[in-house]
Amino acid sequence: MNRTALLKTYLPTLQKYQGLVGLLLLMAVALVKSPHTDLPGALFHSTFYSTGNLRNVLSQLAVPGCLAIGATFVILVGGIDLSAGSSLGLLNCICATWLVHGASTPITIAYVLLVGTVIGAILGATIGFTRLQPFVVTLAGMVSLRGIAFVYTNNANISGLKDQIAFLESPWLGIPIDGWVLLVATAVAAILLSKTVFGRRVYAVGGNIEAARYSGVPVNRVRIGAFAINGFCIGLAAILFTARNSNGQPSAGMGYELDAITAAVVGGTALVGGYGNVIGTFVGALFIVCLNVLLILDGVSYYVGQGWKGIIILLAVYLQNLGRRV
């Protein structure tokens, strides 16, 4: 077998699991670079492999992870969502306001998820009706939703939350509940994409929108569905965010949309649409959080870390494109 043939055989597999390859490499680096600890429950006496860090990573992963799962649906149908961060900010304020004003926890959670889903559906529908690019429509959404968040809160933070949703931060079977929420959301999203008609249609629309249209796929409805699921995931992220910060901030989540897109891309989802999956995204998000944690543990400045992250994104996209441009 010559080299080209080898490439053709193994490249797709490698691309499919590139996030995992990255994560394993990172974990190998962590073995060498992470500071030592003598606390019990730490593998190899490494702080990075301690149970404390497992909880820490899963807690940190919950918000960006949920956003990234949502972003994956949008990217799979060939779209992009720049409004996720602003939407998170608004929903964070709504969630905090409702709780502060004495609404019950289940009702608040349901309401936030509903508003998130509706915002997503409206964005999806707008793209269908106006035939504008998702980039433009969600850019408009990003600006407006941020403005609405400031108007809604009268330009002030919402504080005074009691412990209504603090349970989301507490551990269950060793893992914080917000970590469980992300794991369940990932599992449900994975089943939705691989085992349902809707899932197949998401890939069809993203792969070739014209072909999908001619074969009778209701393109607009699929797109609205994908954006609505994204909105639901943002609602979920907003609730976890509120639990973590125990207040509402109209400026919350600035730039988080890009972190979500980064996680999806690192996890092997192609920005052109039609290729990728949520397990990959989960691994991609995990990779980024682990990288952040390792950089902090190693005492690397935040700004130096950002430089490395840019290089890693570029590398991930380059590897994704290998073998496709030919």
């Binding site: 500071p35 003598d38 301690s50 504080s159 910060n245 989540g253 952040n292 690397v300 590398l315």
Partner: protein, 331 residues
């Protein structure tokens, strides 16, 4: 061949990460350490900074690091900055806690960071709050300046220079921020006691030079007379001065320009050149924070829970001494 590229890329990634942390000493000013640091060696002091973007914070970072470097032999020091995102800061503090530090210095981006601060405090880590405070009392010491006093002193200086008679244009910092309210209210208390002083409440220029410059250009167009400008920070005082300097028609006598912060060499130079008249230092709590951290490391219990650092007046006469006293000023 492409498969080779993959391998190269993977290797490059590992190498990059490797040298990434190798650079860290220079990049973040951390104390010496090898690839895997021994745990029981030196106690660790960590510093979680809200952001490292504005000149005041840059000076704050530089002076904190300098103070920590002086005592390299007694403790290790690590710093992280959070881009003013409280959620990011919570993550950073949680992660730093894994390294079992003895002292956490923290300048909270926002009150909600107190969830992470309280967790650290409950674990027995000494918590020193720098500048901004929190609502809970789960901290050891809070070190900060007093903006009401600064506002008061700035107004007294202006009243004295104007001999109790004249119009003061107040250029406002970001609306709603504690610093803005304090610097305004402290000054207004003094101005109100002087019937000869009229105050014009200027626009919210968000502590930005550019915004203050645009506002001042428009204000000068109105032709309203004024004798002094009191800006809630130096950046806005500079912006206002630049607008005045470039204006076609100026008031006959040069008005006073007074700012707050005193954290940039540029401002001190402008005071020396007679462009600005005075600034009031908003004290940088970093070095004092390191001092308190060392007390905590020695097992001493800090005397006061709240330490207020005094301000300093900088004028043409004191500018040289000020520069010599504060080598860490932002460029």
């Amino acid at each position: 061949m492409r498969l080779g590229l993959w391998a190269c890329a993977a290797f490059a990634a590992v190498a990059l990460l490797g040298c990434g942390s190798g650079d860290s000493g220079a990049a973040s000013g951390t104390a010496d350490k090898g690839g895997s640091k021994p745990s029981g060696d030196l106690p660790l002091v960590v510093f979680s900074q809200a952001n490292s973007a504005d000149p005041w914070r840059q000076q704050f970072d530089a002076e904190t690091k300098a103070a920590a470097d002086k005592d390299k032999a007694t403790f290790r020091f690590e710093e992280q900055a959070a881009e003013d995102d409280p959620n990011k800061q919570i993550s950073q503090i949680d992660t730093l806690m894994l390294e079992s530090p003895k002292v956490l210095l923290v300048s909270p981006a926002e009150v909600s960071v107190e969830t992470a601060i309280a967790k650290a405090y409950d674990k027995g880590v000494g918590v020193v709050l720098l500048d901004r405070g929190i609502t809970s009392d789960k901290y050891s010491v809070h070190i900060g300046g007093d903006n009401v006093d600064i506002g008061k002193q700035a107004a007294e200086y202006i009243v004295k220079r104007l001999n109790g008679k004249g119009t003061v244009l107040m250029i406002q910092g970001k609306g709603g921020a504690d610093a803005t309210n304090d610097r305004r209210n402290g000054a207004m208390d003094v101005f109100k006691k002087n019937p000869g002083i009229t105050v014009i409440q200027g626009d919210d220029c968000k502590y930005q030079r550019q915004a203050a410059q645009s506002y001042m250009e428009t204000f000068l167009q109105s032709g309203k007379p004024f004798d002094a400008v009191y800006a809630h920070n130096d950046e806005m005082a500079i912006g206002a001065y630049q607008a005045y300097d470039h204006a076609a028609t100026k008031p006959k006598n040069k008005p006073l320009f007074v700012g707050v912060d005193g954290c940039q060499q540029e401002v001190i130079q402008m005071i020396k050149d007679g462009k600005l008249d005075a600034t009031f230092r908003y004290p940088d709590p970093g070095p004092k924070g390191i001092e308190v951290a060392e007390q905590i490391l020695k097992g001493e219990k800090p005397k006061d829970k709240k330490i207020i650092l005094p301000t300093e007046l900088v004028t043409k006469e004191t500018a040289d001494k000020y520069l010599a006293d504060h080598p860490g000023l932002a460029k």
